[in-house]
Amino acid sequence: MPLLEIRNLVVRYGEIEALRGVTIAVEQGQVVTLLGANGAGKSTTLRAISGLAKPTSGDILFDGHSIAGLGPEAIVRLGISHVPEGRRVFPGLTVKENIMLGASNRKVGASQISREADAMFDLFPDIRAFSNALGWTLSGGQLQMVAVARGLMAKPRLLLLDEPSLGLAPVIVQAVFRIISQIRKDTTVLLVEQNARMGLSVADHGFVLETGRIVLGGKPDELWGNEAIAAAYLGGHAKTHA
């Protein structure tokens, strides 16, 4: 049984049908990457899984149980942690406070959370020095590290990562992806990326979304091997790295 199974998911925002019957499965221990252009429905898929967007029809099964229609607070308690697009680090809280709040889905005391947050800096040594800096003072790459660290504090069984490379310098993108390949040892990851090359480099499986539908799925090698698809979506063109 897959850890996460999405069946024929439809999500509408008013008149607009953002997802038009998406079906994907994520096996325990895998990194699965969801590729596609802007507006293809990648973020909406993640938002539906974490409860921010209500499915119009279809089902989302986590560990065999339907979670479609549950609120975000309930879903993160089940062990799905969503690191959304734009990092969304609380600007008026310090780095450590941001990371500590990542454990809000678990029943643990403040001192225990504080120790766990300190331990998190072992995985993210680049932000250790900024522990007491306020969120708004950080750079994009540092914010991404904080956002991922905060997401991991939930001790998720499934981590949803939305465009972690967006707007980052290439060297920072590589640092972020090094962290993803470390995370995968313990956590299943569903990754959304426009940067196909990086996205597939860490993936066990990839899906391509186009205007609300899955048009292709397979192992990274197979996706690269499909010439028409590779040219259209995976490219190597400058725009897919934007």
Partner: protein, 290 residues
């Protein structure tokens, strides 16, 4: 010099009341992005609750506890009845709802108690103490003491506790807070309870100095609202500094310029700030929050 010290004491005393109400404004504004126009009525209702309990023959301290418990309950009802049903709407319907609630509260009290202002005794039997040249009115001493304690509590609560951090997180980004498993509706409930109690406390403390009347709420709220703008809208420290500054300014204005225009000075300062420094004293920090 003696007069200046005396005026400073009185000004800080009345300013502390504005600061407490302003703090309630700011906390609700940060949590919900809405100015609660019924914040002043919280003070008025609490003062009337005190009057009712004291007239009923209850001891002063017990009346105080009951009045504050009543305010906590009012905070819950206010949240569920005014904010919660409109929480997914824009700010405008919510603001109108708070105005409606403020009219409902004052007219309910009017219907029950009539238009005659009531008198509430002060907490202490001793009216005050003479400290050198300055006469320290016991009620003003109480107001200043309670305000200092509350400001310290507020700092500790928001800066040193995990719950305080969750409240801050909720006020900065509700959707993200919910993704982390923070119960946004609980956080907003806590904010309303806390703000209602703060407003109520201000009303109870100031009641023996002013009369207890239907209008006391709107008078205090207008000054407190001016204080939040002077301090920098949405800023906790700004609300406190703005409130104190306003109290001192209007007390000095009344003493040296004109007593009838006492209320006018507060708004003159407000207009001056709106023209020359609309971001308020601590304005930059508000910008950082955005």
């Amino acid at each position: 010099m003696d007069l200046i010290l005396q005026l400073l004491f009185t000004g800080i005393g009345i300013g502390a009341v504005y600061a407490l109400v302003a703090l309630g404004f700011v906390l609700i504004f940060r949590a919900t992005n809405v100015v609660n126009f019924a914040q002043g009525e919280f003070s008025m209702v609490a003062a009337y609750l005190m009057v009712v309990c004291v007239e009923f023959g209850l001891p002063y301290w017990l009346s105080f506890v009951i009045a504050l418990a009543g305010m906590a309950l009012l905070g819950v009802i206010f949240n569920l009845g005014v904010y919660y049903p409109l929480r997914h709407r824009t700010y405008l319907p919510v603001i109108i709802a708070t105005i409606g609630a403020s009219i409902l509260l004052s007219n309910t009290v009017l219907a029950i108690y009539g238009p005659q202002p009531q008198v509430l005794q002060g907490w202490f039997d001793t009216p005050g103490i003479q400290l050198g040249p300055v006469y320290l009115d016991s009620q003003y001493l109480l107001i200043i003491g309670v305000t200092i304690l509350l400001v310290l509590f507020n700092f500790w609560f928001f800066e040193k506790t995990l719950l305080g951090k969750k409240l801050q997180a909720t006020s900065q980004d509700k959707e993200m807070a919910s993704l982390l498993g923070i119960s946004v509706s609980t956080m907003i409930m806590i904010t309303f309870i806390y703000s209602a109690v703060l407003g109520g406390l201000a009303g109870i403390l100031v009641a023996p100095v002013l009369f207890v009347s239907i209008q006391m709420g709107s008078t205090i709220a207008l000054k407190a609202f001016a204080a939040t703008i002077i301090g920098g809208f949405g800023d906790v420290a700004g609300a406190i500094v703005g409130g104190l500054a306003l109290g001192v300014i209007e007390t000095f204005g009344a003493a040296y310029i004109s007593v009838p225009y006492k209320d006018g000075f507060a708004f003159l300062v407000l207009i001056a700030f709106l023209v020359f420094r609309p971001q308020g004293i601590f304005g930059e920090r508000v910008a950082e929050k955005a």
